[in-house]
Symmetry: C2
């Protein structure tokens, strides 16, 4: 008999009702009675546990009763409608065999564990309801992103993560080497001689694939990256990790308005896709992680995002009857408290656009006012900044000027500048931190709980 997924059963219940099935998976809970036993069973192919009922007619009844939570088992049995309310069916077992034993020190027991405890068991926590939901949503959202972009004609480009230069400046980049640290080759000045390293020069892990994505956008019209990003930030907060995933689309012949259209359309597509494909997982999160999560997500899909200039946001903040920790100012950045106020003020996701030029990156297009750049951040209620993007400076001379202002060397960046000389049209792009999205989609508020094996300062286990 061929093994079947519980996902297949859930999706075609009528087909399997009163049929013999063979399942393989793990014991999540086990209640024993003198003549019967009840196993809560999960095979991980869908969210719900399935009840297995067995009785003394099984020749290994006594043996089965010794199997503990965590054991891997095979179950043959008949799928029947259940006498219990809230349970459409159960399996009357005709045969249960052990596929992998589990002792009683198994850390994941059918009781409430704290998320801090589960973080220390990162290799086992996927066997809990919460992490079954979080990582399924993460996987489905990944596919939704790929499908959105490819259906809309974007090319997926694998930009390199090893680099000799970087677009944001190198202070947040990990250094990469093949050297033996206790035996570094030195040059005649006593400095480490990187000409002897694998690439013949200093190498880093980049924090962004944007520059290379721009090169590809100017050939394929529109492209996106989706891969891991490393940053050295020494911050122990709920939203920082040293390794995370990022999506960076880049689009030719696209201005700031066009960019906002794409960001809004993409986000709604992904949220709707997850609502449609992760019903049980969203229900679980909506009940046990963030009350009202489902409604929040449904509202986003049907809303129209607000678009407002940075200076008009500051106007609103200045008029607000709030005692700010950071006073809002026209030429300055928006603090977390301001983000929160403004999304609550509009009760909607808000695009804040046309930012003061001095607080944004050198590659953002200078507006005709010479004071602001065509940059846009998307602020989402309850999640803060979800995406950041801009029209790119496509004027060669202005870009060189901006690099000078920011103290960024043009050496090694000639190719990036040349993109402005060789048919370099108007183009725009944005970046979205994928974990921010998953935090928003699940209601889980700590980035350590949406990454399979988080890397944070002083923490690099598994």
């Amino acid at each position: 008999m061929k093994r079947i997924d519980t996902k297949e059963i859930y999706e075609h219940l009528d087909k399997y009702m009163d049929s013999e099935v063979l399942l393989k998976g793990w014991i999540r809970n086990h209640r024993k009675q003198k003549e019967f036993g009840f196993i809560s069973f999960s095979d991980g192919t869908q969210f719900n546990q399935i009840q297995i009922v067995y009785d003394k007619s099984l020749e290994n009844f006594d043996e089965i009763q010794k199997w503990l939570v965590g054991c891997a088992i095979s179950v043959s049995g008949k799928l029947v409608s259940s006498p219990k309310e809230n349970q459409a069916f159960e399996i009357r077992a005709t045969k249960i065999t052990l596929e992998g034993d589990c002792p009683e020190d198994f850390p994941i027991q059918p009781k409430r564990h704290t998320r801090e405890f589960l973080r220390e068991q990162a290799y086992l926590r996927p066997r809990t309801n919460l992490f079954q939901a979080v990582f399924r949503i993460r996987s489905v959202a990944s596919l939704a992103i790929h499908e959105y972009f490819q259906q809309n004609g974007y090319l997926y480009v694998h930009t390199p993560i090893i680099t000799g230069a970087d677009c944001e400046g190198s202070d947040q980049m990990f250094k990469l080497t093949t050297f033996d640290f206790d035996n570094l080759p030195k040059d005649s000045d006593g400095k480490v001689d990187f000409t002897k390293d694998l690439f013949g020069k200093k190498a880093y892990i980049t924090g962004s694939g944007q520059l290379q994505a721009e090169a590809f956008a100017l050939a394929f019209d529109r492209v996106y990256t989706f891969g891991p990003t490393l940053r050295t930030e020494n911050s122990n907060t709920k939203v920082h990790a040293n390794e995370f995933w990022m999506i960076e689309p880049e689009i030719s012949f696209c201005d700031l308005d066009g960019l906002m259209d794409i960001e809004e359309d993409m986000l709604k597509y992904v949220v709707k896709y997850v609502l449609d494909h992760c019903k049980d997982e969203i229900d679980f999160c909506s009940n046990f992680v963030e009350k009202g999560l489902r409604e929040k997500l449904e509202k986003l899909v049907s809303s129209q995002f607000v678009r407002i200039d940075h200076k008009d946001v500051v106007d609103i903040l200045k008029k607000a009857d709030v005692k700010w920790e950071f006073q809002p100012e026209y030429g300055e950045d928006i603090a977390k408290e301001h983000e929160k106020y403004i999304t609550e003020y509009f009760d909607s996701p808000v695009f804040i656009k046309n930012w003061p030029k001095d607080i944004k990156a050198y590659y953002m297009k200078l507006n005709s006012d010479n004071q602001t750049v065509a940059a846009v951040d998307l602020e989402v209620p309850g999640a803060g900044e979800l995406m950041g993007g801009s029209q790119r400076e496509d004027d060669y001379d202005k870009l060189v000027e901006r690099m000078k202002e920011f103290g960024i060397a043009t050496e090694g960046m000639e190719w990036y500048l040349n993109l402005r000389r060789y048919g370099g049209c108007m183009h725009s792009g944005f970046g979205m931190g994928f974990e921010r999205l998953i935090i928003y989609l699940t209601g889980v508020d700590n980035i350590r709980d949406v990454l399979p094996f988080p890397r944070t300062p002083k923490s690099c286990d598994y």
Copy 2:
């Protein structure tokens, strides 16, 4: 008027014939006559160039005639059937404007460039036919892989690339640090003090996500990774790069036969998907890169792969009337010349299975003969080894024993060993180097030409 993709036109030619359209893209070639001009135009949304015809009725006719190859332009015009053979339509321009100028030193001209030259212009080569084909196929094959696994119930897991340990041993791993190399903190023994580094210990970039994928497979039944992999190999060959992408599926309750079923099914799905979705690109590669490529790929889809034990392969090799550079031996690895012979011998992809235990990794399941492991390599005609996989050792004691034999420390690996104690059932997995697949799909024989910005020894530009 709204801009339209040439892809949209190609897919719905009837709909747009004799209509006004607005296109944006780049000049690939420009032939001028006294009264007319002909522009070969590409917008990068599909493979083919489109002919734009303009004449003296355009008020900026003289200006247009000065625009060189590489310029970005906007074209308004009418789509009409073409008088030329082999060309279904052309655009009669009513307006052409410049979106981005391009000087005559633009390196990509409408003539044959060598691939070596184009590698030095990695940021511009996507604007050539060859690289339009290669990188479109790469993007579409990526999506095919995601769709295959997700349609078949696999969870996409983002395993970390930063690690403190590694499954293959650490000799091929890049070291990662936040230290200033010319000012390293030292401990009391004069050694570099990694307790002061970001993670409080030595950190590396892993060459595989397999170990973490195993943990997730034992919760979600089956999972896959798809991400970048770094290796320090100092090899300047056509098939080695220091950064490449890899797919690593891991499946519970799956033995070696089941694993081969999955590998064969997945490969056929991806190849067929690319044949169906990249018709023009495959035709181009089949005509100009590898003669007969299309037939090779079609044959693979309809073939049944051979499955044969390592020792039986050696039997065949020993009987062959060939003067080997490396003599085939039962306990030893298979050389490139052997791989080539055996795929030609069967004229088919060949799974070589049950390998001598001493030449394979510690985590592969020891067979009952105590001499071989349940490992399998897939050899493909013209491409060599495309995938490598195995059933995993699921016996705790045997795994510890094998780690000892290979001199691999169990310290830091307790969690991986524990997967065998806590409901650790039979499971299997494999790895596929994504560039190997793209080389096979395009006929391009150098890994530097299937990676957007290749990183190889002494080469880390862009």
